[in-house]
Symmetry: C2
């Protein structure tokens, strides 16, 4: 095993440290966050910091980084109270990654990358039509983290759209069937292969693989 | 596409809603969090809410749920200021999942599941010897989320141990080579297959696949 100490991390150049740091969580989700400004400009940005915060109410969080540049996603969702989470599959990974480029506010990443806007009645933020698994979110709370200027965005899931065959009766979602993509760092993408679903763990016996 | 509304979510029975809710982030990390109480009792618990909060200083977060039961991980890391994050590979998924069983505080999940404690000089929390990719963490901040009683745990990475061949000069980590496991819900595990590393995205041209 190789050991990297706090001193080694501090001595890394900036790009190396960012690559290393963003790989340490291991496998991460990656989805396109869709927002629309109050005056109607749409925006799409990839986020890999999406995390479950609660099941009742159903709360997901994500982290907005303290970029020197404008944070279009954060300002749009703060102004309008809504956003979408659009999971990726291999056919849209390239376009999704392209959304991480620093476009000016007046350029929609939909137009720039060829992804298609999809709107639901009464919901201000755009979904990605090509996504097979997408969520509509309502803002619940923004928590500023003074330590490093990031903002934790907490939202309630108010709408889920998913391919019919991917949702089971028991609430399970077939990520392999959807070809849902995982990521690490800010530039590396993976497919998923099944290792199995395991039984509810009890102290007195090892779990078993469910059929 | 199937549409699930907020009303549909509210009408789900508890187990279905938990399965559904914990699947919505898509592919998630999953790692064993190692802690040791002030009086020396070790604990291991799987977490799938590990998220990058910053690269300088290098901060990771994770979410402690508002369980009715005692939160051994949270109380240990609050008392001692340190914990470990141990990534899983297929050979230790079963033992890792077994650590989610509700053991009493006086039972170490290491002893109960057959995983091996590994200690580093001067660091109070136990690492999992079988893990190929493990982090030592120091507590920076606990943020209570009154909305649902969860706690966001923020820590600084102070030590990384990883198989020699998996860390590249540029800070990249080879998750496929390490056979790092991803997860969804609280019971489903995946392997990773490479889809590629993409070039830094620029507005005026699509990204390309890096060699």
């Amino acid at each position: 095993m190789k050991t990297i100490t706090a001193a080694d991390i501090a001595a890394m150049d900036k790009l190396t440290r960012v690559q290393f740091a963003t790989s340490l969580p291991g496998a991460k989700p990656v989805a396109l966050i869709g927002t629309r400004s109050a005056d109607g400009l749409t925006n799409l940005a990839p986020f890999s910091s999406i995390v479950h915060f609660g099941s009742n109410p159903l709360i997901l969080g994500m982290v907005s980084r303290p970029d020197a540049v404008e944070r279009h996603t954060l300002s749009n969702l703060e102004a309008t109270g809504v956003w979408t989470i659009n999971h990726l599959h291999p056919d849209i990974v390239m376009a999704g990654h392209h959304c991480s480029a620093r476009y000016p506010r007046e350029t929609s990443e939909f137009a720039a990358t060829g992804l298609t806007e999809h709107f639901e009645e009464g919901f201000h933020a755009p979904f990605v039509a090509e996504s097979r698994f997408r969520l509509g979110m309502e803002l619940v709370e923004l928590i500023d983290i003074p330590l490093n200027g990031t903002t934790l965005i907490l939202g309630k899931v108010v709408l889920v759209q998913i391919e019919e065959t991917a949702l089971a009766e028991d609430g399970s979602i077939d990520l392999v069937g959807l070809e849902t993509v995982a990521s690490t760092a800010l530039d590396t993408y993976f497919g998923l292969t099944p290792l199995g679903r395991l039984s509810y763990a009890k102290p007195d016996r090892p779990p078993t693989r469910l059929p």
